[in-house]
């Protein structure tokens, strides 16, 4: 039988673990890369740092490579089974809005946002390398016709992107803040928008 001291130690350990779990990791600012004098190298380094957000489950889960989104900190297939449908907002009779409302709903634990949907199939990030994601982001034929300024606007100000930092429940937020991601993307564009090799 466990002693009361052991129980207290276990409780303390669990508390520390859960606190770490919910803690948002930092994101390095563009200035941290100013010592890299080669612009292309600096640009790749900036995108690699931004990639910590892009490849985080909060972003990756809704950029699936199949018709089915992922969920959770471990990016498991969405349960119940849902598919993107014709407009990336679900199938007839089983829309995103069947369960997801305009805001996170803590009583059921279901996350929400007014624009909840999965990214179009051309914007699939799951299973892709960061270099492939970078090339995809820059390609207007796959990014919804966006130029680099529009890409920055999306990353820095889109409110559904912003949900990644306030996901509610036990979902781990994306690293840093949306403003820090916006600064990294702006600096990446300014330095030539170079892509990592892989």
């Amino acid at each position: 039988m466990a002693s009361s001291v052991q129980v207290r130690l276990l409780s303390a350990l669990l508390a520390v673990t859960s606190a770490s779990f919910a803690f948002a990791q930092d994101l390095r600012a563009p200035e941290a890369f100013s010592s890299i004098t080669n612009p292309a190298e600096r640009s790749r380094a900036l995108f690699t740092e931004a990639g910590r957000v892009l490849q985080h489950p909060r972003c990756l889960n809704c950029h699936p490579v199949s018709d089915r989104p992922l969920q959770g900190n471990d990016s498991h297939p969405h349960s119940p089974l849902v598919v993107r449908g014709a407009d990336d907002k679900g199938a007839t009779g089983m829309r995103c809005t069947t369960c997801h409302q305009a805001a996170n709903f803590e009583p059921s634990g279901v996350p929400g946002h007014p624009l909840w949907h999965v990214a179009p199939a051309t914007m699939a990030w799951q299973t892709k390398s960061l270099g492939q994601i970078c090339a995809q982001i820059k390609d207007p034929s796959r990014n919804g016709g966006k130029n680099l300024a529009a890409i920055h606007e999306h990353m820095a100000h889109d409110s559904l992107v912003g949900w990644a930092w306030m996901p509610g429940g036990n979902r781990v937020p994306a690293p840093g803040t949306q403003a820090q991601l916006g600064a990294l993307i702006a600096a990446w564009i300014e330095s030539g928008a170079a892509c990592p090799a892989s």
Binding site: A91, G93, C99, S108, V110
Partner: protein, 153 residues
């Protein structure tokens, strides 16, 4: 803060916490117990109602989200598609224990109202969020096809 509800065509005011799950209000305050509590986390579909004619898991929506919007529960289903579904459910003896069936019927009706001739894939995708522990899935699918045939006839 008061929330104006329109449930099965009847307008009423809800004076409680606007963040209360809609399911609680339907069952506890309005007294309509046909809509079931299953999991409480939008995984099983037993609590499905229609809002603006579309399925919604009432356990996972604050009552404030449906203010001034028409809500239909299993007690208020009356469309042509709903009647076809109810007849097909009886004809094929779909129900076993029955606990999930009001949710199943709400989802099936909403599907047929939007897509009167669904394929097996359409049915699977629309019904994937409605779990039946008695595993009546094959009869549910057959009944949806039967209701579809009724609607076409």
């Amino acid at each position: 803060m008061s929330v104006t509800l329109i449930i099965n065509g009847t307008r009423r005011e809800y004076e409680g916490d606007p963040n209360t799950p809609l399911l609680w209000v339907i069952r506890e305050d309005v007294g309509l117990t046909g809509t079931k509590y299953g999991c409480g986390i939008a995984q099983c579909g037993a609590c499905t109602v229609h809002v603006d004619g579309r399925p919604l898991r009432s356990c996972s929506a604050p009552v404030s989200a449906v203010a001034d919007r028409p809500v239909t529960t299993i007690e208020g289903l009356s469309s042509r598609a709903a009647k076809a579904v109810q007849k097909a459910w009886v004809d094929l003896d779909v129900v076993q224990c029955g606990y999930c069936q009001s949710g199943q019927i709400m989802s099936a009706t909403a599907l047929l109202e939007q897509k009167p001739k669904p394929s097996d894939t359409d049915i699977d995708h629309a019904m994937a969020g409605n779990i039946c522990r008695c595993a009546t899935y094959q009869r549910i699918r057959a009944a949806i096809h039967a209701a579809s045939a009724q609607l076409a006839g």
